[in-house]
């Protein structure tokens, strides 16, 4: 997984985000500085403790003097950088990307175990997505309940790969991976075998906790009952790096 090469001597830089001044280490990414300072920046694939992915494109920001947009999760800060995280253009793009996600698979909150505890739902509320302009695709994807403790419902998967990364980078099992292309992409356990048959899954449940939607859940949960806890991740990741 791509992680920017560590710099040998790290300096501290100053920069402005939404016209406010901040200081940061130059090996930090924009999103890390924003999170540190409680600047809301939407993202579904980034998670503190996991490697950079750059897939959801919701964290795109504007940099002064540049016409193109930059993903806050994969752009390092530099001295004098002037960042805009909220603009009419960014709001419109984020709105559209969320619409595209809602239209891609079956994200029906009313019957979802993660209703009320879902990052996709929160983001939609924050970004004011109250309707979807593009046609719903809603192709049928399988649900795998073969694991005795957990279940994966591909219809609610947004392919953020947090599960793949946490399993590989933190648990070290690498049970999960991605198969297929485009919208046919699917998270798979082992070599596209039922999860319950996996011989290397340790049933640690980290993938379930980091999943932002109701795609990975505990068995036996009903509507709105699946509450996730991701606090373990940064602590675990930092201890690993300290070793």
């Amino acid at each position: 997984m791509a992680q920017p090469a560590p710099l040998s001597t790290v300096r501290v830089v100053t920069l402005t985000i939404d016209d406010r001044d901040f200081s940061a280490r130059e090996d930090e990414t924009i999103i890390e500085v924003c999170r540190e300072n409680n600047i809301p920046i939407p993202s579904l694939c980034h998670l503190d403790g996991l490697s950079i992915w750059g897939g959801c494109r919701l964290c795109m920001v504007e940099l002064e003097g540049q016409t193109r947009l930059f993903a806050a999760c994969s752009t390092r800060v530099t001295e004098g950088m002037r960042i805009q995280t909220q603009s009419e253009r960014l709001r419109s793009y984020r709105h559209t990307i969320l619409e595209l996600l809602f239209a891609e698979r079956h994200h029906v909150c009313a019957v979802c175990v993660s209703n009320g505890h879902c990052e996709l739902q929160w983001l939609a509320q924050k970004c004011g997505v109250d309707h979807v302009r593009v046609p719903y695709r809603q192709a049928a994807y399988p649900v795998d309940s073969s694991h005795e403790m957990f279940r994966i419902d591909h219809n609610r998967c947004i392919l953020c790969t947090r599960c793949v990364r946490v399993c590989d980078e933190i648990e070290g099992a690498h049970t999960w991976d991605i198969m297929g292309r485009g919208t046919d992409c699917r998270v798979i356990s082992d070599l596209a075998q039922p999860w319950g048959d996996s011989t290397n899954c340790t049933s640690c449940g980290k993938c379930v906790q980091v999943c932002p939607t109701g795609a990975l859940v505990k068995q036996g949960t009903s509507v709105g009952e699946m509450v996730k806890d991701q606090h373990f991740l940064p602590i675990l990741a930092r201890r690993r790096h300290a070793q």
């Binding site: 959801c56 494109r57 193109r68 419109s92 593009v134 046609p135 991605i178 292309r181 919208t183």
Partner: protein, 536 residues
């Protein structure tokens, strides 16, 4: 090895065949083979026998005019294509007549003029050996001056001098983006690192483009030579050629070339008896278009899933296995040997102010002379299509030419007089791309064309980022609705908005450029699109 030793070797190879006066060259590139060149070669070889030691039949690479294949050229030894007698649409039954003509009058019924603009208007640098030498023969390549640039670089030039020549030449990346090659090389050269890599991107995936395939099939040693010169210039000792598995013939010929170059001491440990060592390995692509994107290509070589990652870090800084990596396209590497041989200033004298040298284009679609051409940068589209391409068949009218594949766009008749280079195409809202040109006549529906390319992007999206994965699917759906005559003005507005979002937010070049065919259709053929809307 000294350049003089190589020149001696080349003279010796030529002397070995000094008795041979006449050659019968049969095009054995993929296109002619698919129209039956193999039986023609067999029949000719059989009749020729030993040719009394004065004549021989050999398989060569692409001669360019693919629409007239199988092509056979009869010529004096060492004569190029323009001075040969060229025969078109040859069948094995024509073999006796052709062999008769070797020492007699040409067979007029099969004759294909080499004075027509298709041949006369071209300037061949990249393709200079294509159709002349046997691609499987190391001796043939050396006899025409092959590896002299490498030996010159290794024995007489420092790596800085090589970099300077490439920079002076003004060569720009032939893979599509047109990034200055000299700048790319010197960036990798200056990046510290004990291990560096050279990658040749031969994952040519644009629909209708076959330039790289032809070069690999016709002149594979030239790519190795270019890669080795690059390796010497940047300080790399290992190279990878990433070829798509759909090019079995190119892979086979490249493998032969690697084997023979190694056997002759021009590849591997101590290249040409110098301190420089260089290994080349072939990696096969598994049919994913996105693997032409450099970060996805490198992931694929590493054995990972072929999908892009955010840049920076750029490959020059952290590429293959985290090492500084130089990655160039086949045609870029093919330009290196002539630049070193003749000097960067010579190359800079060809082409336009900001785009130097020549460009190979693959002409496809509704055009008489489909095939491969090489013209100086700045040649007008009208010359390429009407003169070299021979115009539109069946007396129909020209409508548009599509350049740059799924990342490019269509150019209408009004802009045909523009000289083709990187910047002029950009101002027209399309791009050079790798060099595919698909010509369309007045029967083409531009919404269909846009839908076709969007379908291509949709099925080739790796699925990593949402705008490309879901956006191309939605844009394809909207184009489909419009093509069926069921679209509304609101659909068209939504389509334009999605184009903007996907272009601005996608992770890699595939997604960022996926809307281009739609945008160019809306720019030049808006009326045609609007006429298809409900109630118009």
């Amino acid at each position: 090895m000294h350049p003089e030793d190589l020149a001696e070797k080349a003279a010796q190879f030529r002397a070995e065949e000094a008795a041979i006066k006449r050659e019968v060259r049969v095009c054995m590139a993929a296109s002619c083979q698919s129209s039956g060149a193999q039986p023609v070669l067999t029949a000719l070889t059989e009749i020729c026998g030993d040719g009394k030691g004065m004549c021989h039949v050999k398989g060569v690479g692409c001669m360019g005019l693919c629409s007239a294949g199988p092509l056979v050229a009869v010529a004096d030894k060492d004569c190029d294509l323009a001075d040969s007698v060229l025969y078109r649409d040859v069948t094995p039954a024509d073999a006796p007549d052709i062999m008769q003509s070797v020492c007699g009058a040409p067979v007029e019924r099969l004759r294909c003029s080499t004075e027509q603009p298709f041949f006369a208007r071209q300037q061949r640098i990249v393709l200079e050996n294509c159709g002349l030498i046997d691609p499987d023969s190391f001796k043939d390549y050396v006899a025409v001056g092959g590896y002299s640039a490498l030996v010159k670089a290794l024995s007489e030039m420092t790596s800085t001098e090589v970099l300077r020549e490439v920079t002076t030449s003004g060569l720009r990346g032939r893979g599509g983006g047109g990034y200055p090659t000299g700048l790319k090389w010197s960036t990798v050269a200056k990046t510290p690192g004990a291990q560096k890599y050279v990658i040749c991107n031969a994952d040519e995936g644009d629909p209708g483009a076959f330039m790289d395939r032809a070069v690999l099939e016709s002149d594979p040693h030239r790519i190795l030579e270019g890669m080795m010169i690059a390796g010497y210039a940047i300080g790399a000792n290992k190279g990878y050629v990433y070829v798509r598995a759909e090019y079995p013939l190119a892979v086979e010929r490249l493998q032969t070339a690697i084997r023979k170059a190694k056997g002759a001491g021009f590849l591997g440990h101590r290249v040409a008896d110098t301190q420089f060592s260089f290994e080349v390995e072939i990696r096969l692509g598994a049919g994913a278009f996105v693997c032409g994107e450099e970060t996805a290509l490198m992931a694929s070589i590493e054995g990972l899933r072929g999908q892009p990652r955010p840049r920076p870090p750029y490959p020059a800084e952290a590429g293959l296995w985290g090492c500084p990596t130089l990655i160039n396209n086949v045609e870029t590497f093919a330009n290196i040997a002539p630049i070193i041989r003749n000097g960067g200033a010579w190359f800079a004298g060809i082409g336009t102010e900001k785009s130097k040298g020549t460009k190979v284009f693959a002409l496809a679609g509704k055009i008489n002379n489909t095939g491969l051409i090489e013209v100086p940068m700045g040649t007008s589209l009208r010359d390429i299509i009407e003169q070299i391409g021979g115009g539109i068949p069946d007396g129909r009218a020209f409508k548009a030419v599509q350049t740059g594949g799924p990342s490019g766009g269509c150019i209408p008749a009004a802009h045909l007089d523009i000289g083709v280079d990187y910047d002029s195409l950009k101002t027209l809202g399309t791009m050079m791309g790798s060099g595919g040109m698909i010509v369309m006549d007045d029967s083409a529906c531009m919404v269909d064309v846009a839908r076709y390319f969007m379908e291509f992007c949709m099925t080739e999206s790796c699925g990593k980022c949402i705008p490309c994965r879901a956006g191309t699917q939605q844009m394809h759906g909207l184009l489909d609705t419009i093509a069926k005559g069921e679209g509304t003005r609101a659909d068209l507005a939504l389509l334009a908005h999605l184009c903007e979002v996907v272009q601005a937010t996608s992770l890699c070049g595939l997604g960022q450029s996926a809307p281009n065919p739609v945008l160019s259709t809306l720019r030049y053929f808006r009326e045609e699109v609007e006429a298809k809307l409900v109630g118009e």
